[in-house]
Symmetry: C2
């Protein structure tokens, strides 16, 4: 017997997965207290190989957040967001680079889904990782922490319509 | 203004994220038609760098599914599951190995969340990737497809209680 979950709950999860979008334009509005903690909490519950949980999160707001905009072409996303979450791979916890990266991807996806489910906007910034050493130096990160991604969070100015994906039949072997 | 989502929908997403577990013991029960498609559909909607969608999915059931059990210590999970989804990184679509792995991790997490939201059980098998070349040879996969993970799906025999994670404060820098 499958667990009883309820169709409405299933639909809510599927809705979040399918309608979540990358939000790159934000209103000048502050996130309510506790929102960032809820988002990080979701990241923390991701699965990982051997349950090694190789992620570390650094929340940036205000001037320090804006300052890391110089390391990416998406400075406007960083500046417009109310906060950004820098996600690091902790080499002291890692066991297999590919699987650690996949686990971090799962953690980021959890965070993006909760951002969406709260009616907020989020954007996964990967391009800034091209200058990960400069970002880490600016933030005085220890050597064991490697920048994996930055997630921008805020109140969406406009919430984009559903994105584009390759048809399912083209994803199936 | 944040989009209106509804607290119930937010709670449903958070519930799935926090209570999803790795299910390794399954009942002898068939998945209903359309269930696997719903799961793959969730995978397809994951975000990826430059929207490159570097994933390919191969669904295995019956004897062919059971046969890949020889490539993992978790043969009992593969054999007990009604189906497994082999997830491949398509090098013809990839652009950055770390980010492609993260995107695939996001796609797998989407699938695991929908499996959970349907009241079913899923397990992310990473260890089988240690023998990825043998698995690919057995399945006659072309060279551009690299095994990234296998997701087992079925009706849980028992649904484990919430897992263990490092405290949030230990994840935050």
């Amino acid at each position: 017997m499958a667990r009883k979950v309820g169709e409405k709950n299933e639909r809510a999860v599927i809705e979040a997965i399918q309608n979540r979008r990358s939000v790159r334009r934000f209103r000048k509005a502050r996130l309510r207290p506790g929102v960032i903690e809820d988002i990080l909490e979701a990241g923390r519950w991701a699965p990982s190989g051997l349950n090694n949980q190789p992620w570390k999160f650094l929340v940036l707001a205000g001037e320090k957040k804006d300052a890391i905009g110089v390391f990416t072409h998406y400075a406007s996303v960083v500046k417009g967001a109310d906060a950004v979450i820098a996600v690091f791979l902790d080499h002291n916890l890692g066991y297999n680079r590919d699987r650690d990266c996949m686990a971090i991807g799962a953690a980021i996806q959890n965070m993006l889904l909760v951002i969406h489910a709260k009616g907020l906007g989020g954007c996964w910034l990967g391009e800034i990782v091209n200058r990960k050493n400069k970002v880490s130096a600016f933030l005085h990160m220890p050597k064991n922490l490697e920048l994996a991604a930055v997630v921008a969070v805020g109140v969406a100015r406009t919430y984009p319509r559903r994105g584009r994906r390759r048809a399912l039949k083209k994803c199936i072997l």
